[in-house]
Symmetry: D2
Subunit: 381 residues, 4 copies
């Protein structure tokens, strides 16, 4: 057994995504045999007390309260950005310029202009980079991608995706503030478009290729809310719902929808592709299953197959337990960490790189533009 | 187009099963091209007013209030027994002796002794006969039978069936009385054993062959109830629940369960077979679907297929609508009528004949005997 | 028991919808206690032999081969139009002018202009009229409507509907011709827009009110097909897929999609509404179930309820069997016939009248216009 | 933030359960705020090379190749037994006598006699002890227990459980040998009875109280297999399938079934309770859902609720992610570790203790005895 080479991680952000990334880094070496082993070197957040508690809980060796100090540390190999969207841009560029590898929570920037500058920075610096579009690494979704790539579905006619939540429906919910930056467009960039639709778009283009054009509508159902920090009632600036029709470059048609006003759905990300010969469907509420229909099956016993993605021949699953035993949401991040580390010695970096992830921002920009202009919008590329 | 030959029906019983059988006779000629056409000649029930209303509603040409008068009528070709269990025996034997064809609602007799006499009567008279074990004719169940017969499942290891209801759980429900004869063992023969388990057993033996031996337990959860007719509180004589383990002649093992105390289940009849190569499962609450698993499918996309039984190559379904459009419970009876009429000119009568249906009574007798003796019981045969 | 008054039916069309309507008229009196009883007086189709066979099978007393002759018959009270879309207009107007009640298969006209003339004709004549948007009468859909009307869902934020099929995907399928008029835009008016989307739109507006504006895209995936009648390869004129986003008058947002290129889906009509307090969802492949989510349930045990619509307190269901026993597609028509007949003596006619159904054609016109113009389109009204 | 007190773990066994337990000990401190923190002190297995690799992968500080040496080490606080069933007895007793806390993989002993001696040893020594019946700690199962304890279901009438697998169906599978000790009765104690049924029984009695009596049948479908170690074809000594009917002390009736010959089922552990007022059902293939039916719901919208167990008010779930994001199988062990550590300072130890787990062995002994005697068997206790 050869010793693994350490990769010293410095993470910025200690909230939900800080936990999810840290967990991935802590878990990956027990389940995947990789040439590199992540070392939890330093955690960074503005609150000194908060970051110390986080570091102790997750096993980080040290803490910082200023991300610039973290970026400047020579013992850090990789900066992992798990902070709100509005700081992605500056941290990523500074980290790249300091020669660090950069991993960034999605969306890359608040818009494609930010993303382009970030992409140029990492490419100029020649550092490895990746964006945490974790749902690609749900084994069932990875399998869907494999089936499409192998041609099992044949020509694709339809794609449909939606991401439905209901957690912001109360009138009493404040906007912005601690733990609520997703409700503040100046921080987040947009509402559900950048938050939820971005996931749908990333997976869609990964599996089905580029989106050519869109027609969209967005809505903010509750127009004013009290701001948590200022206490003042102010117009809500985020989109609560965002829907669009799309035509892919391959000619297939699509519906996309994201909303936080779909009562009864906690985080229901669904996707489906219909091809000439076969179809696949998946949803996040039963993420360990893939629905598969094959028209080549004998007619009398042809039906949608509910495939329990827990066997050794399913993507990633030989690393886990035994058939029938499902893994959870968190391991989409573990898989992403494994793929990133596993590709470090390869010429081909793990996907999605910043450049690949920027493609999603070009679509979300087009969606928001179409919603404003009430016109079909081509996706820049 | 050749004219269909009429079969003059005389029905006894105008309640739930009277309606179900009448509907089947009314519908079958519109959907199936048969050599015979049922004519609703006479309906019989004790209430003159009731039977006249029934006859008008369903289109019967005449009425009787005494089944002996009905059996004696020369214009009747077929006596259909849709009356409570305690009169099956006498009507069937009288009808056979009068040379009528006989169709009888299940179970055939209240016990195997009654069933044997009924069977001997129709065989002695040489008249066509059938018992309405309608669930065999649910297209999904028929398909399951076909798949097993074709060997698609290979050697069978397991059978499991249950029939769960919850309609008798209220303490206020009376026993016996109008519309409640199923709650009176002297009329029904037994509780859920003859009512629900009989369906499970009939289908099981049709698909998987004879049952060799059983060990059983029954229970009456509410021990006393007021009798509707007498008004007196009396011990409840029926079994509310009946469970047994079985070994089939082919070596497979089974669990069977029927109860009217399964809160949340209205009429959940389920069955499943597990074979060497494939498995099938079905339930009555989604009767238009068959679950099918084929181990020969490619591993990565192997899963239970939910087959929507609504295509032209599914049993009976070319006679109905178009793919995707389901049919209801009632047409299990329509199919049984079609099979009976379609086989009249054939040497092989439609199944189950009285003799075939008697096999189920031998099993229910064994179940009740085992529950009393607390011993394994071989099935007589 | 009072005698029912007869309504003499003359039907035009003996194909799929001719069978569905005839079955409804034959069945309704056995299950619903109505003041009127349909009498199958005459069937009309161009083939004398075909219509005679149809009449014998379904019990029509007489036949016609020219609908004008049928309309002229004094013994006919009601003309039921089950013929292709291109003849709806002329037959309906003639029937109205002859003073007959008119029932018409959907869509009413090939476009709103035709529908308007038909509507004016029946209103001018003062005759009862209805369009067979049968899915309203699926009990689960009716229940969804009731729940929304009662305010159980609160303010509606989202509506989504799709109708997915896959039966036209083969390149070898001809266009137009016998039994294939739905593939010929000159006969049908449009492709899936008028065929499938029309159902989605009718139900949507019935439950959720008027649609204000739409943005749409349509596609014809296989551009040329051989015409069955001429044998020549010609451009396909129908839309294979039709998708649109909509804003309802009540402010809710919607996605709509219909296609015949969704491999694996036979006739998957789905709908869902998300409200402030509750949500409902339904699909045609399990038409006897309604999915219901109520946010007011206790949090720990809150979840989507799969309601088996087979109890006596569910719409229409007390007329059928017992809890747990599902009914089929065909009875959406039976219920529509029951509602029509049941309302004949009432001031309020059964819905949808021609005028109500015309609203759907205004939306489909807007959808097709938007797909051509690539602009948002307001719905005329 | 107070520092957590360390608990030094010494684990015996490095296979499937060795990984599952180690993962739990590594994960628990990041997600649960506990007074104690497990320290992975030493791993023990017979192969020096194997155990070193395991220790490196999982972060154990040291290794042993003889469990007696491990038990003798003064720096070990807790012996965790993740080795095959035949060594549970000796290790547990030695560990207890050495004053160590003991955690033991299920089943406790190969039979109740072994379990009794183990129980007496830990009780004599006064050391904390627990058996890893992990499925109790699946949040959905814990919630089911809570609902029953709160009286939400009312009087229980029925319990049903099964554990279906299909991984041993191939005739080519050897018996016994490396990684296959579950197929050797001398090591495992029995086949599916102790392996799978034991889980079903533990959960059942935890939720529904003691089992009074059973009638059982077992079967070995393939009678001879080649032994992996000896290479000789020998009679198979384990039970491939084990089924029983039971009566609980509370009067409810049950069916139990476990098999490795249920084609299509990987690890389908299912359970259901039917009560007077409500019912619950759960299965391991969708372990993050609980099915709940409440008869007190309004009739029209009453149905089985599919509860997605991922909210903060669900058992254990506030420690994980956000609503809608499921956790996997492995965290049933994490929860068990959390409960064990969290109860160390409490008078009441975490359940199931050895004594509580021994109750399951009394039932499995009764099941095997009934299968041999073909008699109902009372459960000793």
């Amino acid at each position: 057994m050869t010793m693994k080479k350490p990769i010293n991680i410095g993470i910025v952000g200690t909230s939900f995504m800080g936990r999810a990334h840290s967990n991935a880094f802590r878990q990956v070496s027990q389940f995947f045999d990789l040439p590199y082993r992540p070392v939890l070197k330093a955690a960074c957040a503005r609150s000194a007390e908060g970051v110390r508690a986080f570091a102790e809980q997750w096993g980080y060796e040290s803490t910082e309260t200023d991300w610039r100090a973290l970026v400047a540390r020579p013992d850090i190999d990789l900066i992992d950005i798990a902070a709100p969207n509005n700081v992605h841009h500056d941290i990523a560029i500074a980290a790249a310029e300091a020669g660090k590898m950069v991993m960034c929570e999605k969306p890359l920037g608040r818009n494609a202009a930010e993303s382009l500058e970030m992409t140029q920075a990492v490419e100029r610096a020649g550092v490895r980079n990746m964006v945490w579009y974790n749902y690609r690494r749900v084994p069932a979704v990875t399998l869907a991608k494999q089936l499409v790539d192998e041609g099992k579905l044949g020509r694709i006619f339809h794609y449909r995706a939606k991401f439905l939540q209901d957690w912001t429906m109360s009138r009493d919910l404040p906007q912005g503030g601690t733990g609520l930056w997703r409700l503040d467009a100046s921080v987040a960039g947009s509402g559900v478009t950048g938050d939820l639709l971005a996931h749908c778009i990333d997976t869609a283009m990964w599996i089905n290729g580029p989106i050519a054009e869109v027609t969209a509508v967005t809505e903010t159902f509750i127009k004013e809310r009290k701001h948590q920090l200022t206490g003042e009632v102010a117009p809500v600036t985020i989109d609560d719902a965002s829907l669009f029709l799309a035509r892919f470059a391959n000619g297939s048609l699509a519906t996309f929808e994201a909303t936080r006003y779909a009562r009864g759905h906690k985080a229901l990300y669904t996707l489906e592709l219909n091809g000439q010969d076969a179809s696949v469907a998946w949803d996040l509420h039963d993420l360990h299953r893939l629905q598969y229909f094959d028209h080549r099956d004998e007619g009398r016993v042809r039906g949608w197959r509910s495939v329990h993605i827990s066997d050794g021949d399913h993507p990633y699953m030989k690393h886990w337990w035994v058939p029938g035993l499902q893994i959870g949401y968190e391991h989409s991040f573990t898989h992403q960490a494994a793929d990133f580390l596993g590709a470090l010695d390869s010429a081909t970096p793990a996907s999605p790189t910043f450049r690949e992830a920027m493609a999603t921002d070009l679509v979300t920009d087009a969606v928001l533009a179409s919603a404003r202009s009430r016109q079909w919008q081509s996706v820049a590329g």
